[in-house]
Symmetry: C3
Subunit: 127 residues, 3 copies
């Protein structure tokens, strides 16, 4: 059930963006058990002036390669699972397309099983 939004600066090749998407999906599968085919991802590219971030908040050194990731998923994962997800995401993005650990910001939005319709007008997580 995740819907993943990926926000980054424009100018990276298609293969780089695709690698982000693939690594994120792999992390969701490995850390949370999300089926590989439960994949819905939107990538938005920003000009420099529209992509604003603090370069050192929490003593983490961020570059223009920062990726902000917003994942909407059904509520119910424990804090431990979420921590594991974050670690898995930075590891996978570090492998491909080789993003620095400091350049990965993740925000989760939780909702309920009634809040998803994957098509056909159904509420598939309720049925």
């Amino acid at each position: 059930m995740p819907l993943t939004q990926i926000f980054l600066r424009g100018g990276k090749p298609t293969g780089y963006r695709l690698a982000i998407a693939e690594s994120l999906q792999k992390a969701l599968t490995d850390a949370l058990g999300v089926p590989a085919e439960e994949r819905f991802q939107l990538i938005t590219e920003f000009g420099k002036d529209n992509f604003i971030f603090d370069p050192s908040y929490k003593n983490i050194s961020r570059s223009q390669d920062l990726v902000m990731i917003v994942i909407t998923l059904k509520a119910g994962r424990s804090n431990e699972l979420k921590k594991s997800l974050y670690q898995t995401i930075v590891t996978e993005l570090g492998n491909s397309p080789k993003i620095r650990r400091e350049d990965v910001l993740i925000v989760l939005h939780e909702n309920g099983p009634a809040d998803w319709s994957f098509g056909d007008g159904g509420a598939q997580l309720l049925d």
Copy 2:
């Protein structure tokens, strides 16, 4: 109170996108009783590489005409009302601009009455 975000591939005519927005608003009104004038909608168009979806998850056959719809609304609707909303949305989008039922993915985000300011710095759902 809904804020509706509409995500789709680029390349469709303006009238097509406008029809999506109008049908969605009609569905919110018909299914949930949202006032017709409570209308705030953002449409974002994506290139092929930035719009990633599984073509058959949950045995639903999706095409490049897929529309992903994210609706933020005040909490409190029952599961039955949400199911009715999904059915109404696919019916309306099927009427205009004639989108296949399989090509409609919907995600709801709920928040509270204090979480909306429609202008003037007010919290109109609290007052």
Copy 3:
């Protein structure tokens, strides 16, 4: 911890958009005590056809200068603090870049302390 998304019509100068971002951050700091360096903001510009709003809902007169602001933040602020935030935002945006109070729509999304990773794969609000 806020992640702020700023949605507006395209065509404004860079300085105008930057002023929105700066005023919003100042409002978060002044009203909620968010550290100035806790700053993550995304600005998205829309063509006219993709930016749809009612011009008078709740008897508030909106123009094409409308800014829709979506703030994701950790749950726990009282209704009074949220009301203060809305007032502070419209005041700051009224100062710079001089946006009318009627042209500011704000939506909050709350999540939990486990739902943030600011980099390095950590869950910094838990640790």
